[in-house]
């Protein structure tokens, strides 16, 4: 064996050991992180199958999964279905509006040269720095005067305003990376501006659209503050707000509440998983050259 290859062997061995050491440490950190993240979720799911005394006596015990009484009371004693529908409606309309309006604004900012384009982008950016909750009192007065207090539109308006800045930011950056020649080609093919956006740009923007959707979905679905202020009628309440019904002034039925939380978290978790998979697919298939 020549000295050169012997040297290479020695180097490789050291390399493998080094890699193992580094990767092993990484694995430990990742596993610890996973446990930390999953722990509250597991406790939530477990507690949903327990009664109040069970929760306080054996908080970590594995429950009897056949005991569905909490779920049955969520279903029968509350307006759960109504709340779920309200949440789906408000979140759905908000996300759709954010994506449609955000993409259109981003397309204009990224592609058309007009006076004030960069100012408009900066204006949207400024929205990222504003905590909307500070404006709660003026918003309340504004919505009262507009007559949309105690309707879903008050929530949609706030959520769209909250979601637009980041969406415009993400989409503008993404659209700028797409080759202009694609749009020119579509223009030569006779496509209208709207058709170019719909048939050429939107399919290519899917990864960025999904990032924006995920980014906005969770905070809107889980939001408690704005429904609490704007919605008083029980039939219009969203899930997080509605679930507080189990929190009594003196006693709280924790089991039922955790069961409700589990049900509330389920759809968003499923959507999240589906979207992330889509997003990863999109990342690898959008390549141009």
């Amino acid at each position: 064996m020549s000295t050169a290859s012997a040297k290479a062997m020695a180097y490789d061995n050291k390399g493998i050991l080094g890699t193992l050491g580094r990767d092993g440490l990484l694995q430990i950190i990742l596993i610890a992180n996973t446990i930390l993240m999953l722990f509250p979720i597991v406790i939530m799911i477990f507690s949903g199958f327990k009664s109040n005394p069970e929760i306080f006596n054996n908080p970590f015990a594995i429950p009897d999964f056949t005991n569905l009484s909490n779920y049955i009371s969520v279903w029968t004693q509350t307006n759960f279905i109504r709340y779920l529908f309200n949440s789906v409606f408000v979140t759905g309309v908000s996300i759709l509006s954010i994506l449609v309006l955000g993409t259109m604004a981003a397309y204009a900012i990224a592609r058309y040269e007009f006076f004030g384009a960069s100012f408009i982008l900066l204006f949207f950016m400024a929205g990222l720095t504003l905590p909307l909750k500070l404006a709660i009192i003026p918003l309340f007065i504004l919505f009262r005067d507009l007559g949309i207090l105690n309707t879903h539109w008050a929530l949609v308006a706030v959520y769209v305003a909250m979601g637009l800045p980041s969406t415009v930011f993400i989409m503008t950056g993404f659209i700028r990376t797409l080759p202009r020649e694609l749009e020119d080609a579509a223009r030569m093919d006779g496509a209208s501006e709207l058709r170019i956006m719909w048939s050429v740009l939107l399919p290519l923007c899917r990864p960025a659209l999904i990032i924006s959707a995920i980014h906005n979905l969770v905070p809107i679905w889980n939001d408690f503050f704005f429904p609490l202020v704007f919605i008083q009628r029980d039939a219009l309440k969203t899930l997080p707000q509605g679930l507080t019904a189990f929190m009594g002034e003196y006693t709280t039925n924790w089991g039922v509440m955790f069961a409700g939380l589990t049900l509330a978290a389920a759809p968003i978790t499923v959507i999240y998983i589906i979207l992330s998979r889509q997003f990863i697919n999109g990342m690898t298939s959008g390549a141009l050259k």
């Binding site: 694609l182 080609a185 093919d189 496509a191 399919p203």
Partner: protein
């Protein structure tokens, strides 16, 4: 039928003037190549013809109709882009169908046209593939196919070969020439490569700094270049320009020898004269007092030819085509003789061609 005429066409981006008044006529079924160094405005001119950028000033007529404000898709023009610009999310069939669908054609007609284009370009096997699953040459063919199915009067090709490797380039070049013969449309082709221009064109338009330097057939441009720019741009290796001082029929270089040429242009008697010589127009001798003195820099051996690069007394680098068996050492002193029949003469100040 497609006749294009450009009259005093100007283009300005904000404060930057890109085209300074282009006058050009293109006839039916002509293969026209716009050639020039990068930044000369050839691609901009193509985009004006396509309608992708508005014309700042002047008129563009197609078949006698003013096209300045007609949208790109209504001009009967199709374009092949430098990056091909295939829609990445559509398969080959969809890429070709996109435009014809928007034209409002029936499905049977669409299928027939795509079939025809696919046969002509050997794309039949690839119709269900996405662009990312294709090789460079295949993508190129799809891009041409997408233009073909629209059955345009005019094809625009923007540096279509620049993304291909050298071996593929000559194949696709032949293919484009064959295509032009078969479908017979008017083609306008932009390139910075003068070899592509020479091999493909019926008519070459040489551009520089937003102006047309000369329009003519490849032979015209090669044999009678209008000025020093065209002279050095067309032909490879390029023509050497030697700035000489004239004394009667003798063109000389200071301390660098001289040549005698019987018929010299009338202008500039006893003044200066720029002599243009291609590698073929020079012969080498190893001794004697006649001819330009030069010292060899290096010899390029190409098998059936060899090019000797030599430096004149004033520092000009000259290329000379010689027999491949002739060997010249670096720094060897040689004498260069000019074949008068192949010499070109230019005004030293203006760079314009002088006629004998």
């Amino acid at each position: 039928m497609a006749r294009l005429s450009l009259r005093n066409v100007k283009k300005q981006f904000k404060d930057t003037k890109v085209l300074h008044g282009i006058d050009l006529d293109i006839g039916d079924r002509e293969f026209v190549v716009f050639v020039g160094p990068s930044g000369c405005g050839k691609s901009t001119l193509l985009r004006l013809i396509a309608g992708l950028d508005p014309i700042t000033e002047g008129q563009f007529h197609l078949n006698g109709q003013l096209m300045n404000d007609v949208p790109p898709s209504k001009r009967g023009i199709a374009m092949v882009f430098q990056s091909y610009a295939l829609y990445p999310h559509m398969d080959v069939y969809e890429n070709m169908a996109f435009g014809v669908r928007l034209m409002g054609l029936k499905q049977t007609e669409i299928d027939a046209r795509i079939d025809e284009a696919a046969n002509m370009l050997r794309l039949g096997e690839l119709l269900k593939r996405k662009p990312r699953e294709l090789s460079g040459g295949q993508r190129q063919r799809v891009a041409i196919g997408r233009a073909l199915v629209r059955k345009p009067d005019v094809f625009l090709l923007d540096e279509p070969l620049s993304n291909l490797d050298a071996a593929l380039r000559s194949d696709v070049r032949l293919e484009i020439a064959r295509l032009h013969r078969d479908i017979g449309g008017t083609m306008i082709y932009v390139t910075h490569d003068q070899v592509e221009a020479m091999t493909l064109a019926d008519k070459i338009v040489v551009m520089n700094l937003g102006r047309i330097e000369q329009v003519g057939s490849p032979r015209t441009l090669y044999e009678t270049p209008a000025n020093t720019f065209v002279a050095t741009f067309i032909g490879s290796p390029r023509m050497t320009l030697i700035k000489t001082s004239r004394d009667g029929n003798r063109l000389g270089l200071e301390d660098g020898g001289s040549v005698v040429i019987e018929d010299l242009p009338n202008a500039n008697a006893n003044g200066t004269l720029t002599l243009g010589v291609r590698p073929d127009a020079l012969t080498i001798s190893r001794d004697g007092e006649e001819g330009f003195a030069a010292s060899v820099v290096y010899t390029e051996y190409l098998g059936d030819d060899a090019y000797v690069y030599a430096r004149l007394a004033d520092g000009t680098l000259v290329s000379v085509r010689t027999h491949p068996n002739a060997l010249y050492e670096a720094d060897e002193k040689i004498r260069l003789h000019v074949d008068a029949a192949q010499a070109h003469f230019f005004d030293t100040q203006s760079g314009q061609r002088l006629v004998v």
